[in-house]
Amino acid sequence: MQSDTDLLLRQILTDVLGLKVGQAEGFTSDTGLFGHLPELDSMAVAGLLTEMEDRLGIIIEDDEIDGELLESYGSLLAFAEAKRAAS
């Protein structure tokens, strides 16, 4: 079953990247993000993380952000779920 975090994260990606309706529902944990979605540059990453903080109620430290975090949808979701569990 999809977690609440999963649903919220797909919606956030849709809003930030301007994805078509339904596109984010097709993401699997292996779907590549950084380097695979042309819209996702450092400015967009900053916007994405800030929006995640606001809507998921988490704080993301700058030193937690690395290449692996945004490698795939699965890695970003695992990070978000761990952050929410800890907060």
């Binding site: 809003d15 301007g18 819209e39 450092s42 400015m43 916007g47």
Partner: protein
Amino acid sequence: MTPLSWPCPLPGGGSTQEYALAFDRGRRCRLLIVPALFDEANRMRRFTVEVMRRLDAAGVDCFLPDLPGSNESLQSLEMQTPKSWIAAMEDAATHFGATHALGIRGGAMLTPGSLPTWHYAPANGASILRQMMRSRILASREAGITETRESLLETGLRDGLTLSGHRLGAEFLRQFQTLTPLAAPILHEITQGTVGGSGLWLRAEPDESREQADALAAILAIGVKA
């Protein structure tokens, strides 16, 4: 739609000409629009003008002045402060004979205090700054340079700081970090939930939405004519 210029006060005294987009047919309801700030301004500009076209069709005059140091302005952004921007918007309101004001996102922190006002999805200085700092830290890291929020702010408050290509002066940063949407005698907040869909300022690339422009223009047209 007409491009106009208007006399804008300079931070050190004197004045200069700044640019504005206007729909002016000498009508009773005249709305001054304070644009979103920095990168959000680029992402929201087409949407803002689409809202203006609809307001014009609904019988409302509207004016979109440049903030000095942004868009077409020839002034140095580094010389500006939030206070000088507020003074500029007050002068623009007087010059255009505005009867109402709208602040979009960060523009809500700069709306003239004397007019009935709408704030669309207002943002405060701290949250805008947080995102711009993060963007700079990430870009620097890609270039192999380690920066922290604390060190950037310390440098910025002493020497000014370039964030996302915007050169901000020390005094600008000092005022901006605690800036919040301005009060007005009659103030209405329009949330994104009321407009519907997701906010266009979030988008990584500039986008548009006919439905959102229709909704915001309708809320404003009904409000200013009430």
